[in-house]
Assembly symmetry: C2
Homo-oligomer: 232 residues x 2
C-alpha cells in the first residue's frame, strides 16, 4: 500500500510534550503490527491484557449479542489508544476491536504500561481525562437509550455527525455519506429503521444526498426533533 | 442523629496504604459537610468542579430526561468517590448526586485533586482502575439496553442484586426487598413493568417475599431466562 508504516509514538495524544529520549524509551517497549481492513485486533475472549497505540488508520470498538446483533461503541483514530481497561485492571476484554482501514498499532504489556504511568504522572492524568470522556459519552448513550425512541436516536446520531463535520450556520455537510448499518449499530436499532427515518428526513427537505456527501439543511429543526420526543 | 461524623479519609479506597502524614495532608485540603437523605449534593447544572469523598452513608448518581424520567446510574457507598469527572477534565457535571442516607462527604478543589494525582501516582493508578470499572459497567448496560427487552433487563437486575447478596448454591437472599421504582430507574423501564415481572416470577416460584427479604430460589433458571431472550 502507498502509506508507509508509522513506527513512531510522537503523535499519540497521551504522549504529547514528551522529550525525545522518553519517547524512544517507550517505543523500545512496544511491538508493532499492521492490520488490514476487517482484521480483528482484539477478540472479546482474548487472554491478552496488552494496551495498543494507533499510529495509522482507524479501528472500531464493537460488541455482539448472543444472537449476533452488532453494537458499535466507538471508532478510534490514529493518535488514540485502546485496550487500556484490561491493561489497567487485569480483567477480561470489554469489547472486540476490528481494523476498518489499513492500520498500524504498537502494543505494550500491562506491566510496562503501569510502570510508565507510575513514572510519568502527567501521562496518567491525560489518560484519566480520556477515560472521563469515555464515561461521559457512555452516560449520554445510556440516557438516549433510556429515554428516546429509535427514530429520535437516529436524529441525535445525525446531529452528532453534523457537529463533527463542516458547518456553516444551520447547514452542515457530512462526508462520506454515513452507512445505514453503521448508524443502526451505533444507536442500537435496525438498518430498516435508519433507512425509513432517512427517507422521512429527505421528504421533509432536512437532508439531501449529493454523490458521496449528505447535506443537512437545518440543524436547529433537527435538534428540536430530537428534544421534542425525549422522555417518552 | 446517632451516627457521629466520620471526618477521616483513612477508609477511602483510593487512599489505602497511605502513611498517616500524607493522609492528614490530604485531609487538610478538604472541606467537610453532612447531608440528610434526599438532599442534593451535586446538581447537573452546577458550576463547581470539586471532587467528593464519601466517608459515611450512600449517595445516588441519577439523571433526568427533559420530561422528568429518572435514570439511576449507581449507588456510591462510604469509601468511594464522586465528582471526579469534572475535577479531572473541567467539563460540566455529568449527573446529579443525591444523598440517600445520612451522609458525610469531604470535598477538594480540582487543582488540589490534580496536584495530588501528579504527586502520588499510586493513587492515580487506583483511580484509573475505578474509572475502568465504571466504563465496564456502562458497556454492560449499553449492551443490555441495546439487545434485551424490558422484562429481561429486570431479570438481569435481580440477578445482579442476588450476586451481591448472600448466596447458598443456587439460592440467594436479597435484603432489604428492592423497591420496584428503584429497579425501574436502574434498568430504564416503568415501575408497572417491574411489578408485572415480579408477580410473574413469584407465580413461577422463582422469587418469594418474606417480610423485608426477597428469596431467589434458582439463580441458574433466572440466568437462563436473561440469556434466552438476549438479542431480540
Amino acid at each position: 500500500m502507498a502509506d508507509t508504516d508509522q513506527r513512531s509514538l510522537a503523535d499519540i495524544t497521551i504522549f504529547s510534550d514528551l522529550d525525545a529520549d522518553t519517547l524512544s524509551d517507550i517505543e523500545a517497549r512496544c511491538r508493532w503490527r499492521n492490520y488490514a481492513p476487517q482484521e480483528q485486533i482484539i477478540d472479546f475472549q482474548d487472554e491478552s491484557k496488552d494496551v495498543f497505540f494507533v499510529t495509522r488508520g482507524t479501528v472500531r470498538v464493537v460488541n455482539y449479542s448472543i444472537s449476533g446483533r452488532e453494537v458499535t461503541f466507538d471508532d478510534i483514530q490514529a493518535g488514540q489508544i485502546f485496550g487500556e481497561l484490561a491493561a489497567l485492571d487485569g480483567e477480561r476484554r470489554s469489547a472486540n476491536i476490528v481494523a476498518i482501514t489499513p492500520t498500524t498499532v504498537a502494543s505494550m504489556s500491562p506491566a510496562a504500561f503501569q510502570d510508565m504511568l507510575l513514572a510519568k504522572p502527567d501521562i496518567a492524568l491525560r489518560l484519566m481525562r480520556r477515560l472521563a470522556r469515555i464515561i461521559r459519552i457512555s452516560v449520554e448513550r445510556i440516557m438516549d437509550l433510556s429515554t428516546l425512541g429509535a427514530n429520535n436516536r437516529v436524529y441525535a446520531e445525525i446531529l452528532r455527525l453534523a457537529k463533527k463535520s463542516d458547518q456553516e450556520g444551520d447547514r452542515a455537510i457530512i462526508s462520506p455519506v454515513p452507512i445505514h448499518g453503521e448508524i443502526a449499530s451505533r444507536v442500537s436499532t435496525t438498518r430498516e429503521t435508519v433507512a425509513r427515518v432517512m427517507s422521512d428526513l429527505a421528504r421533509k427537505g432536512l437532508v439531501k444526498r449529493k454523490g458521496n456527501i449528505l447535506e443537512i439543511s437545518d440543524l436547529t429543526i433537527l435538534q428540536d426533533m430530537v428534544e421534542e420526543f425525549r422522555g417518552d
